[in-house]
């Protein structure tokens, strides 16, 4: 089996799985887990988009 993902889809999948684990392990109640998981996901994806724009600006 071989999968060839784009850079962005690989980063999003990474964010999903890491956020689920962070959410479950770093908070105590279900509500806090969901909120923290979503926060981590937003930070991961937001960081990717921000880094992309920074690299685009540097390249110009």
């Amino acid at each position: 089996m071989s999968i060839e993902l784009s850079h962005f889809s690989a980063a999003v999948l990474f964010a999903v799985f890491a956020s689920v684990v962070f959410g479950i392990t770093q908070r105590n109640t279900s509500r806090e887990m969901i909120r923290y998981g979503l926060y981590c996901f937003a930070m991961f994806v937001g960081g990717v988009i921000l880094a992309g724009w920074v690299m685009w600006i540097l390249r110009r």
Partner: protein, 139 residues
């Protein structure tokens, strides 16, 4: 006069007695990601951890990621091995079947290697969480 920091250490030691579950849950959680939670009847958390960590590891292999073997060479290779070993049974299974040879045919193969390492590191966090549940530090 009593030393408050010593008293605090005594209190924390007394709060975490060694029970069979505090040994079995982390060990099982390392061997099978998420199983440390499942054995303590945290069904949803265990299932989500299992799916996330196994999916990340399998995706890493599918992206032609490389599995690190025990080595005493470059520090990054040693750390890569430590990360990989965190996946427990998945790592053992992969080594036994000689998967994860890391063909450099794909541009994203290096991402695969990182996926495998991070899956192991996330499992270390899940193991620590299973231990905290077992000793009653976390609900």
């Amino acid at each position: 006069m009593a030393n408050p920091s010593v008293d605090k250490n005594k209190a924390s030691t007394a709060a975490a007695p060694i029970t069979p579950m505090s040994v079995v849950a982390p060990a099982l959680g390392w061997l099978i990601p998420g199983a440390g939670h499942l054995i303590q009847k945290r069904w949803m958390r265990g299932a989500l951890l299992m799916v996330s960590i196994v999916a990340m590891f399998v995706l890493g292999l599918a992206m032609q990621g490389r599995i690190y073997k025990p080595n005493g060479g470059d520090i990054l290779d040693i750390l890569g091995f430590v990360g990989d070993v965190g996946a427990g049974g998945l790592y053992i299974l992969t080594r036994a079947n000689d998967w994860g040879q890391g063909a450099i045919a794909h541009a994203t193969a290096d991402y695969g290697t990182k996926f495998i390492i991070v899956a192991g590191l996330l499992n270390f966090i899940a193991v620590a969480d299973a231990y905290h549940i077992a000793i009653g530090k976390k609900p």
